[in-house]
């Protein structure tokens, strides 16, 4: 039997159980909506201004840096799996690959892109 079928079964049951728990909450809980209760929380006052506020551009920079290193790590997984059989040549090749990306990180660092403010 294809093993990914079991993973799909796990995902299905993993989706159904929390739905069941929240559904139990939905069945057994009182349902008395009123406008004051439904209004969003803002430290006890009426919400002011638009909700989807402008966010810091810094989040975008961090997401980009994460993306680069995530893709790099995904490429490193097959390298790591076969490292025992490939000898010193593959190790040096991998080290060069990682070094090129570390240089990218140092560039980002020196440009001040990793500062929060």
């Amino acid at each position: 039997m294809n093993e990914w079928l079991y993973v799909a079964l796990f995902m299905l049951v993993g989706l159904v159980i929390p739905v069941g728990a929240i559904g139990a909450g939905f069945i057994f809980g009182p349902k008395k909506p009123n406008p004051v209760k439904q209004s969003t929380y803002e430290c006890g006052i009426e919400p002011v201004g638009d909700v989807w506020v402008q966010f810091k551009a810094q989040y975008y920079i961090f997401a980009l840096v994460f993306l680069v290193f995530d893709v790099e790590t995904v490429f490193l997984f097959p390298w790591a799996v076969r490292l025992g059989h490939l000898g010193l040549y593959a190790v040096v090749e991998g080290i060069i690959f990682i070094t090129i990306l570390i240089v990218g990180l140092i560039y980002t660092w020196r440009k001040g892109m990793l500062e929060w403010t």
């Binding site: 039997m1 079928l5 079991y6 057994f28 349902k31 803002e42 909700v51």
Partner: protein, 398 residues
């Protein structure tokens, strides 16, 4: 193969025999037995989750020099059941203006991402959900769904605080995934495979934390940040941002986030145990029977969970910019350098006797950690002196 050695296969064959005896198709019977197995595992996990609430409350109480819940039932054991009942009978409010589909889907996905990790966790040499050959990569993929659910919760709540809290939490979780991924590569290099069972079997001679202690430590730090627990719990920081992405959630939906976080912590305790502490291995005891291997694994997972709780209730929270600076300027370079050093030494020492390999790996880790700490100390001293000098300059010119 009898009940003592291989209980899961015996039970599965017996059930399949019954189902085909009823006239069911053989393939359908197999799928049905698999479905029942999955249901059993997830039910056991949810019950374990309830007891994790009790463990958490008792342990935090002891750390804070008090007793914790002891009224309901002996030693307060019925307390989490009372908590669950309270959460179920609370009203299920939805804030107006919230995106209903995304808002309701977020806690479900958060819990699901934790439950499916247990599909690849081997509880015994013969008891595991799925023997995936990319088990380690599957862990990361499942964790990514959890990160997604947090940004879903923050975005759809129609609340500024939830939005900002969700952004911060996800920025932190995503940042700390890099050292975690890199440290996952180290047991992969030692074992030569991404399969979790192979990684455990490769720890026959020595547990991996003895030949890569720095790797185990960095993985633990990154995992604690990934869980969103203190000292990295700015989304839960009760005094900042109210409750972060959790603000608009009440009742069982909040319960799913909270219980999911505790189960996630226990799961990472188990994963840490598998990757670095030998999983269900304990000097050959696991060969006797799976019924011994499961408690060994559970004890290791609980010890890992205990260490995670210990860190949570001992250390102060750190700010988001300190946290991100710590990750991008210290942990990520250190983890990549550790990976390079490990790969290099693994290749150079491939033919040497095991004890030379073990001791040189251990020493290389210690030397690397010492160098990294020295660099951090020097940089810290220089920055402190700069601040002191600017302060003296300002005072002298008053």
């Amino acid at each position: 193969m009898n009940l003592w050695n291989d209980p899961l296969k015996v039970a599965a064959d017996w059930l399949e025999g019954i189902f085909t005896g009823w006239g069911m198709d053989a393939v359908l019977a197999h799928v049905l037995v698999a479905f029942l197995g999955v249901l059993l595992l997830i039910t056991v996990l949810m019950v374990l989750d309830i007891f994790l609430v009790w463990i958490e409350r008792k342990v935090v109480a002891r750390f804070q020099d008090r007793i914790g819940p002891n009224r309901l039932g002996p030693f307060g054991l019925i307390q989490p059941f009372a908590d669950i009942i309270k959460l179920i009978i609370k009203e299920d409010t939805t804030p107006d203006g919230a995106d209903k589909v995304v808002y309701n889907l977020a806690p479900i996905l958060s819990m699901m991402s934790v439950l499916i990790v247990w599909a690849v966790v081997p509880l015994a040499p013969v008891i595991l959900g799925v023997d995936l050959n990319v088990g380690v990569l599957f862990l990361i993929a499942a964790g990514a769904i959890g990160t997604l659910s947090i940004i879903m919760a923050g975005w759809s709540s129609n609340n500024k605080f939830a939005l900002i809290g969700g952004f911060r939490q996800v920025a932190m979780m995503v940042a700390f995934e890099i050292p975690m991924l890199t440290m996952l590569l180290i047991p992969t290099i030692f074992a030569g495979s991404m399969n979790m069972n192979d990684i455990i079997q490769a720890q026959g001679k020595v547990w991996f934390f003895l030949i890569s202690p720095l790797g185990a430590l960095i993985f633990l730090i990154a995992a604690i940040a990934e869980l969103g627990r203190a000292p990295f719990d700015l989304a839960e920081g009760e005094s900042e941002l109210v409750a972060g992405f959790n603000i608009e959630y009440s009742g069982m939906k909040f319960g799913m986030f909270y219980a999911g976080e505790l189960l996630h912590a226990m799961t990472f305790g188990g994963i840490w145990g598998i990757l670095f502490f030998g999983g269900y291995r304990f000097f050959g005891l696991e060969q006797v029977s799976p019924f011994l291997a499961i408690p060994i694994f559970l004890i290791k997972a609980l010890i890992g969970y205990w260490i995670i709780m210990w860190v949570k209730y001992t250390m102060m929270r750190i700010r988001i910019d300190q946290m991100l600076a710590f990750n991008w300027m210290f942990l990520t370079p250190l983890s990549f350098v550790l990976l390079m050093v490990t790969a290099l030494m693994n290749a150079l020492l491939a033919e040497s006797p095991p004890w030379v390999y073990g001791i040189s790996m251990f020493l290389s880790n210690v030397v690397l950690a010492w160098i990294a700490l020295e660099i951090a100390r020097r940089v810290g001293r220089r920055q402190r002196e700069k601040v002191e000098r600017s302060k003296q300059f300002a005072e002298a010119h008053h």
